[in-house]
Symmetry: C2
Subunit: 197 residues, 2 copies
Amino acid sequence: MARWEPGTAERLQRAALELFTTRGFERTTATEIAESVGLTERTFFRHYSDKREVLFHGQDELVRTFLAGVDEAPPDASPIEVVAAALGSASSVFTDERRPHSRTRQAVIDENPALQERERHKLASIATAVTGALRARGVDELAATLAAETGVTVFAIAFTRWIREDEQRSLADIAADVLHELLTLTAAAQDSGRLPR
Amino acid sequence: MARWEPGTAERLQRAALELFTTRGFERTTATEIAESVGLTERTFFRHYSDKREVLFHGQDELVRTFLAGVDEAPPDASPIEVVAAALGSASSVFTDERRPHSRTRQAVIDENPALQERERHKLASIATAVTGALRARGVDELAATLAAETGVTVFAIAFTRWIREDEQRSLADIAADVLHELLTLTAAAQDSGRLPR
DNA sequence: CGCCTCGATGTCAGTCGCTGTCATCCCTAC
DNA sequence: GTAGGGATGACAGCGACTGACATCGAGGCG
């Protein structure tokens, strides 16, 4: 038997989400979160580098899922195809059971600009990771950056739609649709021949 | 004759960039910035809502330039074509004379994660504005979001290339190239027929 | 000319996020 | 049983940011 309850970080995370939901992010202090699970503020900051970070626990796992998807793509796949594979892999993490939790969490984020900022930052770090993975496959820098960044954009848009109350499809399906829509849009521009250069 | 020197916000901005460059962002306090131009910390925060914001003064102008570009696009332009127009318009703001300043400013941002976060947030707000402008033109939500977000991605990538020491072309030229590369990438994926769905 | 309002700044106290440091204490290994 | 180590507590302190109130010169108005 340990001196303290195990899973400290997880308990803090649950307590934080609960408090953020009821009182709002800004009107909840780190001390309140910590004491609501019988710990001190200092301990909170030992587990999370800052107050916002408590809502983004497990982000590493998402990054790894993206990278796993990249690895699974066939060697001759084009950058966008690789990104599509990563999208499929990442989407599979978000099962139907996770939707309610994702929803409440997202509601908190949508209420606070500082949290949105952090969310964008996390998405950007995913893009950076995917860019690196593409580069490791021999894709040149421009193509790698574009494909990765585009993939993350598609993921973010698909995720927003997946969260919606009326949406019943899987995230993977939605992401595939969004990607398809992007290809349609770019193809239309390509064909018009009215772009500069 | 005014009671105080005019252009307080601009003086603060210049002083901040100077101090950030020499001492670094985190090791510069808001009080130091303010006092270096004969003001108090309180006044600093009256002009800038937070310490990071001082580096993003004039962002509104950039947003307006994007939107002006959207307005200039012909009525029958496709979403990507509209975005290309916005890209051209926004790029024209960054003349050759502004490059040295952009470089030192970017160097500061690249050194600090909190500033990168804010930068991403600003880019996201541009995307949101462009999305709104596209929607006002009758573009449906998905296409508008995708086109706007993609456009901002292209802009960001082009901008980092424009900043590079060895790069001599105009930002508009680079942006057009980057957009072209994106169209090439998506076309390749489209043609392969190997995407899910 | 004198008064009054207004806007930008100063002053001050206070909260909160976050950090460094040191002490505490159970659990484990030897 | 003793020595370490890992997680926590206690405490002091800095800096970002805010609210409330005071100050004071500029310009309008009688």
